[in-house]
Amino acid sequence: MNTQSAFTDDELQTLAALANVIIPPSTAYAVPGAGDPDICKGIAAGARRAERLQRVLAELNQLADAGHSSQFTQLSDGDQASVAEQFKDQYASSAGLIEALTMQAYYRDPRVMASLAMDARPPFPEGYKPPEGDWSLLDPVRRRAPLFRKAD
């Protein structure tokens, strides 16, 4: 697994900008955007091959350059959103990778988990307690005639 150090500052800034386009911060839900430094660190660390993620960011910048003669980080919010949409259309596989890495890092952040009313912890060792449920619902099924075919 790679660490953040495999990326240049420019690459990390591009990653943060794109991550914030994918999941922006929300004051209504009291959550950071996915471009938050801690979350971004997780996105970068999640790439099993740094060069693949670097290629994704280069593709994004190529699109920004082709349409706006600018790096992605220098674009307005509106232009970033529009280049990101273009990126999804033209580089579906790369967009899929960054999307997955972003979700994997974002939805384990303690601030995000708190906003979802989850304890900020892994499942093990505490586990969870779902309700048992009402097993009397099974009563009508118990009364059914056999529905398997005899094979003799």
């Binding site: 386009v21 994918i22 999941i23 922006p24 929300s26 209504a28 839900y29 959550v31 997780g42 999640g46 099993r48 959103a81 990101a84 949409e85 999804k88 999307e99 997955a100 890495l101 979700m103 994997q104 890092a105 974002y106 939805y107 384990r108 988990m113 979802l116 989850m118 900020a120 912890r121 892994p122 499942p123 093990f124 060792p125 505490e126 586990g127 969870y128 307690k129 779902p130 309700p131 048992e132 449920g133 009402d134 097993w135 619902l137 099974l138 009508p140 099924v141 118990r142 059914r144 005639a145 056999p146 529905l147 398997f148 075919r149 005899k150 094979a151 003799d152």
Partner: protein, 534 residues
């Protein structure tokens, strides 16, 4: 290269190899099992880490090409719409399985007689019933007796997994339609069992059970087999089974953990590598006597590959459900299991309820189905789905077709230079019609249960969990690879005990049947020891 002779060599320490090793151990023979993967440490499973869902998508992915661990071999699956799911370790695929543990139905062994398709098995439900019971006792199965979809059984069961909010909502939907449902027989213990602690609802069954409550064969059979004297060698990858001038198997050549070639001689060789691994080794075992691969005079090694084509159908509800809490399984329906000609296809399927989804999976599902957007709408979209989804998969019976097959890739090799398998598979029209039917019926249930939105996907591309049929069982050596008790027609000291010997696939998860078959073959071997090679 070392050279040693043992009584029995088992290749593969997964579901079937474990059951076979345990059962044969009572003979006091010298039994060695070679496994290409490691012995897992449950405390290191992803669910003990915050990034567990990331690990599930990477190093603990079900697909070996994505996972790409040192214990994995690559598989060319470009010619298949369904990708292989497996795991290479002691416990095999049971490390990652969800633990759904149904039996086959009696009709599943008589497909040709009842429906005029495929072939009947050379054994029947009654022959396997005692071995199902033994397997369930060894594994620890949660469930409830009295399911009208099955004959009465004598299974040992602990209380069922929680029905939960999700199960309750769907049960009401089934009841409204008057359709069958039942608590799933699941290899997850709900109370202490055989020294193992009960399920604590981690909701991460598919990444290995850190609690040890899920009945993967590394925690069920292997501790007993090892105590009984079976020798287990990990990180040993078999290249080929060797044969003598008399056409009998003499043992195997394999690479140890240092990629050093080793040799082991054995009086009996037992294949337990499942529907892709077993034909791969047999096809790689070419010799002057067996130029087309070992045990392959019928030409059927690798042929008739069956998956269970899966359809996934999920509903979004207004109320909060179980979400990330609890085992993936709760209940199942077999309302559409047995053949009904009016449906436009033969055979049938099980609807296997999936409780809910963890946070990342919720996001990925919503994004894939365009219910969750990038940008400003993301948070609202996500919260409409988080803890508000439940649904099911349809496990559809796949019929054997010779063109669906495992062959050896002419180029691709593993890290030891052993030719890798290539999968060629197309969905049959029968399977497509069955999946369409399942999506329609599941949608009806979800709507009856109150779903406000339904999403579906068929076939599930990453759903190649069940690998069957590639060394089929039968009485006729021209149309099968092994006989009715698992012995190769061609090589009288070679046995196969995994999913590759299935004659047909049924419409349920196969692990209980794989292990029951292994116990049945072991029992046959033990009862014929004096004449085993006649």
């Amino acid at each position: 290269m070392t050279d040693q002779t043992v009584d029995v060599l088992i290749i593969g320490a997964g579901a079937s190899g474990a059951a076979m090793a345990w059962s044969l151990a009572e003979t006091k023979m010298h039994i060695v099992c070679l496994e290409q993967g490691p012995l897992m440490n449950p405390l290191t499973y992803p669910s003990a880490s915050m990034d567990w869902e990331q690990q599930a998508a990477g190093e603990m992915n079900t697909n070996p090409n994505v996972r790409n661990l040192p214990s994995d071999y690559p598989i060319n699956e470009d010619d298949s719409p369904i990708k292989i799911a497996n795991f290479n370790a002691v416990g095999g695929g049971t490390i990652l399985y969800a633990g759904h543990f149904p039996r086959f139905h009696p009709s599943d062994f008589r497909v040709n007689s009842l429906d005029g398709v495929a072939d009947d098995w050379p054994i029947d439900y009654a022959a396997l019933a005692p071995f199902y019971a033994e397997n369930e006792r060894m594994t620890g199965v949660a469930g409830a007796a009295g399911d009208p979809a099955y004959p009465q059984d004598n299974a040992t069961r602990v209380p069922p997994l929680p029905l939960g909010q999700s199960g309750e909502v769907l049960a009401k939907g089934f009841n409204k339609l008057g359709w069958h449902w039942w608590p799933s027989d699941t290899a997850i213990i709900t109370e202490e069992y055989d020294g193992r602690a009960p399920c604590i609802n981690l909701g991460a069954c598919g990444t290995g059970c850190a609690q040890g409550a899920k009945g993967s064969s590394d925690v069920t059979y292997w501790p007993h087999a090892l105590r009984a004297g079976v020798e287990l060698r990990t990180r040993c990858r078999v290249r080929e089974i060797t044969v003598g001038d008399d056409g009998m198997a003499t043992g195997a050549s394999y690479y140890d953990g240092n990629s050093k070639e080793q040799r082991i001689n054995a009086h009996v060789v037992i294949m337990a590598c499942n529907g892709v691994g077993t034909p791969r080794i047999l096809l790689n075992s070419k010799s002057a006597q067996f130029p087309d691969g070992l045990a392959n005079s019928s030409g059927l090694v690798g042929k008739n590959l069956m998956f269970h084509p899966y359809a996934m159908i999920q509903g979004v509800f207004d109320e909060e459900l179980d979400g990330y809490m609890g085992p993936h399984k709760a209940i199942r329906s077999q309302e559409f299991y047995e053949t009904d000609a009016d449906r436009g296809f033969v055979r049938g399927y099980t609807l296997e309820i999936q409780r809910g989804m963890a946070p990342v999976r919720t996001a990925m599902t919503g994004l894939r189905h365009k219910r969750i957007r990038w940008g400003e709408g993301h948070h609202d979209d996500y919260r409409r789905m988080f803890k508000r989804m439940t649904g099911m998969v349809a496990v559809c019976e796949d019929l054997p077709e010779a063109h669906n097959q495992v062959t050896l890739d002419p180029v691709l090799k593993d890290s030891d230079g052993i030719p890798a398998p290539k999968i060629s598979y197309t969905l049959s029209d029968n399977s497509k019609r069955m999946m369409d039917h399942a999506v329609g019926k599941a949608t009806e249930i979800l709507k009856a249960a109150g779903a406000t939105d339904v999403i579906s996907e068929a076939p599930l591309m990453w759903g190649g969990w069940h690998l069957m049929g590639t060394a089929r069982m039968g009485r006729n050596p021209e149309t099968s690879v092994v006989n009715e008790w698992g012995r190769s027609h061609d090589v009288r000291n070679l046995f196969i005990v995994d999913g590759s010997i299935f004659t047909t696939s049924a419409g349920v998860n196969p692990t209980n049947t794989i292990q029951a078959l292994a116990l049945y073959v072991a029992d046959q071997m033990k009862s014929r020891l004096a004449t085993l090679f006649d």
